[in-house]
Symmetry: C2
């Protein structure tokens, strides 16, 4: 981008914005301009919120969640079911499950899934701490809430093996038709699973 | 979004990111997480760049461009052709023209175009200052680089009237086939214009 007309400060803002997920070089320029136009109502608060995030956000040493406290709000929440541990790949999955309100337990963020292609091996994941936490006698069930991808399911199998010596149940998410989903748009695997695991009406 | 799990600081960051052009609530959440993960390499520099932008960026009182100096870099650039003034709707158009390198003159940012639908009237645009600047005896030509939309062309006509009493030429951008454009994808108006204004090969 040989545009030095906007001044180095604006150019630097554009270049950093372009590195954000969801924004490219062109949309970053548009975003920069919008931010500059809404200087007081958006740019200044955003700069402050980012500064606060830089200074205050930490990774929970218990579960791998990000929060401004360690242990995180969820790990400190005494009202959560202590008998369950929900294993997720990433913090975004933890957030998604929390939004659903489907389970009120604690989580364990692996920080990725095993992948031969990407060279992700067991030692790259937060597994040692998982075995430790799952070894707590209070824990009766580990729910593997991993993506239904090849890597996700490989990891699920690996974790199941890893926890085999513990006297607890390892479960995984049900497969089936997404709520609101149209059959026409679903793949064969999902449809097969939904038929096989059909329930009484 | 009833997700208060991530802590108020992260929630606030997500909500502000969601107000950026090009990001919605879902992509803002993803962006926030990516930013937190790249705290030192992206989040911190971005927070700083935004803070610098908040504190240093000003609108040029001459042309309406945004820069860290007033008059802006372009208005202060003595190598630019003083006989031309390029009228644009928005700073983004100014940036686009500068990237093209098509003209090395000074600009005048109207800050919008006349629009009966959106209630934009002449007094909402930076027109008084344009008449003043165009009245400078050095200026021989005003190029109306406005969008080829109904509102853009309405504004072009209005500005032409406004400058009619001055002894200068008012021009507008040529219509035609975009460079690299495929005829198949062009509208009839563009094709008609391209045929009518055909040039010798």
């Amino acid at each position: 981008m040989p545009n030095a007309v906007a001044g180095p400060e604006i150019e630097r803002l554009i270049q950093l914005l372009a590195r954000m997920p969801g924004l490219g070089p062109r949309s970053a320029r548009r975003a920069a301009l919008q931010l500059i136009k809404k200087r007081e109502s958006l740019l200044a608060p955003l700069a402050d919120a980012m500064r606060v995030a830089v200074e205050r956000i930490v990774v929970c040493h218990e579960c791998g969640n990000v929060d401004t406290t360690d242990p995180c709000t969820i790990c400190r929440d005494e009202t959560r079911d202590p008998t369950m541990l929900v294993v997720v790949e990433d913090v975004s999955d933890l957030w998604a499950l929390e939004r659903s309100g489907a389970v009120k337990a604690r989580y364990h963020v692996l920080g990725g899934v095993l992948s031969a292609l990407d060279g992700v091996r067991p030692e790259h994941l937060n597994l040692a701490r998982l075995v430790e936490r799952a070894g707590d006698p209070a824990v009766r069930e580990v729910i593997l809430a991993l993506n239904a991808t090849v890597d996700g399911q490989t990891t699920a199998h690996y974790v199941t093996e890893l926890l085999a010596h513990l006297s607890l149940t390892v479960t995984r998410l049900a497969h089936g038709v997404p709520v609101g989903g149209e059959l026409d748009y679903l793949d064969e695997g999902t449809l097969s699973a939904a038929i096989q695991r059909r329930t009484a009406f």
